[in-house]
Assembly symmetry: C2
Homo-oligomer: 168 residues x 2
DNA sequence: GACATGCTTTTTACGAGTAAAACACCTGTT
DNA sequence: AACAGGTGTTTTACTCGTAAAAAGCATGTC
């Protein structure tokens, strides 16, 4: 069984600081590294379509919620700041992928929806993207994949709870 | 058992596109989300010391390698671009945390090392950072943590192999 | 020894994110 | 009706990352 990069890093730390509890690094370091590698590589089909991952997330959110959303709601769903969403919306709108409708009760708020073109784009790209991601992951067994999904889901619940109370 | 955010997203997709294979999203989505939450939250001790995560990575790399490194080597170790490293080195040097020594064979290359101050800083912060990370993770059992570390290590090996051949 | 080639590092120009302020608007109170 | 306070969105000023080009240097070949 080959060793991953983080294992070597942990060994170096043990030599420099014997006895240091590197347990958190073993998990968090690997998590971050996996995430970075996947984001770098797994966005290839998106980029071919001229979309960044954040833009894809906005379109995907509108698609899966299957109704109009306000910019603020999109920001919360995609875990982005309002300002970042404003910029993305401007570009997506300029490309004709989304459209805005003014609220008639409250003139501050806008209601976003996918244009036909936007919907076609996401519906065409999503299966490609998922298929590509599947090939990246098929080096590990299905059992392992499920175990990881489950374990990460558990971690996610803990973190969401922790950070909800930690960051407010 | 509470449900994590990604589970709800997967259900929405199933309603919009029944039968879509969302397996990759279950894993990759959770991975990215965990990574984002951890990075947002787990850097608190670093920020108190006035360090960003990338700066911390540079100092940590110099510390654990325990010898002089060239900027290029630091870039490879921290998975950053050369340009990004140049900027970080300039700031770390201005703060007196690292120093440069010119190579006398090849005048292009510089040899970086931690100053006493830099070494003291990283040695003081690292245990704090690890302890803080440990508290973030202690909501899941130790068995789970090990299982995740191991599974992510396996995934990392696969990705490193895949991307090494995919991206060059 | 001059030059083509390639390597290491830095610079430049630019795109994208953030925090904080600004802006526009609503709502409840007086 | 006026206004205080709150909310939704955008703007502003700034930081940081990147890709591509530039700068500087070494090395092998003719």
């Amino acid at each position: 069984m080959a060793e991953d990069i983080v294992a070597g890093v942990l060994r170096q730390w043990q030599q420099v600081h014997p006895g240091l509890d590197t347990g958190p690094m073993a998990l968090i370091g690997r998590l971050n590294r996996c995430s970075a590698l996947l984001q770098q590589a797994a966005d290839a089909p998106l980029r071919r379509a001229g979309l960044s991952r954040p833009e894809f997330d906005v379109l995907g959110t509108l698609r899966r919620m299957d109704r109009e959303l306000t910019p603020g709601r999109v920001a919360r769903e995609t875990f982005a700041s309002g300002a970042a969403v404003t910029k993305r919306l401007r570009q997506l709108e300029a490309r004709g992928l989304i459209s805005r409708r003014a609220d008639d009760r409250d003139r501050r708020v806008a209601h976003l929806s996918l244009t036909d073109e936007g919907r076609d784009l996401i519906d065409r790209i999503l299966p490609e993207q998922l298929a590509y991601e599947a090939t990246l992951l098929d080096g590990i067994g299905e059992r392992r994949r499920e175990e990881l999904s489950e374990g990460l889901g558990e971690l996610l619940v803990v973190l969401e709870g922790r950070l909800g109370s930690l960051l407010d």
